[in-house]
Amino acid sequence: MFQRVLIANRGEIALRVIRACRELGIESVAVFSEADRDSMHVKLANQAFCVGTARGADSYLKIDQIIAAAEVAGVDAIHPGYGFLAENAQFNEVCRSSGFEFIGPSPTAMEKLGDKNTARSMAIAQDVPVVPGSDGLIADFDRAESVASEIGFPVLIKATAGGGGKGMRVAESPEVLKSQLEAARNEALAAFGNGGVYLEKFVERPRHIEVQVIADSHGNVCHLFERDCSVQRRHQKLVEEAPSPDLPDDARKAICDAAVRMIAGADYVGAGTVEFIVDKDYRFYFIEVNARIQVEHPVSEMITGVDLIQEQIRVAAGLPLSFEQSSLVPQGVAIECRINAEDPTKNFQPCPGKITSMFAPGGLGVRFDSHATTGYTVPPYYDSMIGKLIVHRPTREMAIATMKRALDELQVEGISTSVAFHHWILNNEEFLSGSVDTKYVDRAYQGQS
C-alpha cells in the first residue's frame, strides 16, 4: 500500500481524500494556493505546499508545481479529486512518467472515454443503448439534414469535446437546423478549441440517472447502484439521491449491468460514473462516462457502506476491491444537497466572503462534508460549493424529513447559501412524486424561498 499520497485539489474533496488516507494509515500531502493558506485541507494534511497565487490557472492547474511538490514530499501517488486536473490525460501521463501512481484510470482509457464520440462507439460495441443519432461527426449541413430526418425532430446538436452544456443546441424543426448547427459549432470552437459536433435524438423530459462503478486491476468490475441527479439548474446538479425514486427493479438491473459492461470493455481501473438519460418509459440511453470520483459519490457510499475513496486508493495500489458485487445490498435512501455560496433569490449569483458564524447540523442520519467553519472566508476564485449535506434514512419520506430539519439547523452567517432553494425543492410536489426531469428546475424555479 502507499505510504504517502498528494492531493492535487482543494475544498471538501481534499478533506474527503485526507479522511480516507488517515483511515488507511497513509500520510497526506496537500497543495494550496495563497488564497487557501488558512483552509482546512492545509490544516489537516500531514504536509502542505503552496503552489501559486489565487487563480486556479496559477496554482491548482500548475502541473509543474504540483509534480515538484510531489517530488519534494516524496509521495507514492497523486489523487486528483474532481474538477481541476482530474480528467486531464496529460497530467495523468506526467504523474506516471514522473514515477507517481495516478489515482484514476490510465491516460488512454481517460482519453477514449473523455471523447464523447469515441465513448459512444464503445457503448454501441458493448451493446449499451445510445440515443439514436449520427454515428460520428457531422461533416456538413447536408449530412445533418439527412440524419435529422432519419431520427426525427427535435434533434440535439452536441459538441464532441463538450461538457456542462456548452456547445449544445436543440433544433425543434428543419427550419432552425442550419442556424443551430452553426451556433453549436462556434460555441464549441470557442469553448474547447474543437468545433466537431454530432446529432442525436432529443429525448423530452429526460431524467438523469448515473451508475457508480469501480474496477480493480484483477478484472473485478462492480457497480454501487444508481444515483438520480435530475434536479439540475442549467445542467448543474443541485440535489442527488440513491436509489432513484422512480425506477422499476428490472430497469435498475438493466442499467447497472449496462454500466458494468461499458467499464469492463474500456480496460479501466478505478472509480467512474456511467451517465444515462432515462425517458418516461424507463428506456435508458448512454450519455457519457466520468472517469473520476464525483461530487455526489457520498449517496452511493451511504446506501452501500463502501468508502469509495479508500477503494480508489486500494485499486490504484494494485489491491483487489475489498468487496464483491454479491455482498452489496442497498440499505435505505440517501439524499445529498449541495450547499453553495450562491443566492438563489438572485439567480444563484455567487457570494463569496467571510462566514462570520456557522453551525454544522448533526443527529441521526446526517452527514456533513465541508471544509467551511466559523471565520472561514469563501474565496471568489473557485467553485462556490462550501459543503455537501447528506442524509441517510430507511425510507425516502424519512430522508426528506431529516434533510429539511438538517437544513433548518445548518446556520451560515455572513454569506448567502443555496439552502432556500433546497427548502423549495424538498417541498415540491414533482420532487416528492419522484418525477422531476433535468429541465424541471429551469422551468419551475424563479427564486422562490
Binding site: E34, A35, F49, C50, T53, A54, Q65, E71, V72
Partner: protein
Amino acid sequence: MTSDSPRGGDVFDIDRIRQIVELMEQHELSEVDLQQADDRIKLTRGGTALPPAMLTPPAPVTAASSPTPASTPPPSTTTEGTDAPGTVTINSPMVGTFYGKPNPESKPFVEVGQAITEETVVCIIEAMKVFNEIPAECSGKILEVLVKDQEPVDFGKPLFRIQVDG
C-alpha cells in the same frame, strides 16, 4: 508565515501597546496578534477580520522563471511590516529544493553583507530535475539568508532579506 513578532522584551509595555493601538486605529486594522516563543500580544478592534484574499500575500519578486509574472504583485508588497524601511524579501517563485551553491564544493552564490544587482543569481531552485537560477530582481545588500541549503521551499517562501539601495 507572519513575520511581525515583537523584538523580545516585555510584552506588557504599555507604550508599545498604545503605539500599536494607534496604528490599528489609523490603519483600520481589525486585529493584531504578535507572538514570539511564549510571548504574545493580540489586539482586536471591532468585528470581522479582513478576508485572506484581501491581505497582502507573501509574493515573489518577479523572476525570469516565475510561473505567474502576470499575477505577481508589485515588489513593494514584499516589504515586511516590522522591518526597517527599505528592506524586502526575495521569495521563491516555485516549489522545489533550495541550493545556495552552484555545487557542493564551491562557495555560496551570495553571502550576508554582499552587494547584489538585479541580475545577480542568488540561488538555484531545483524542480523536476531542472536547476532554475534565481536572479535577485532587485539591487541592494544581503541582510539575511532565510532558508538552509537543500531545504524544500514552496511558492512565495521568503529566501533572502535584502536592504535595497536608495
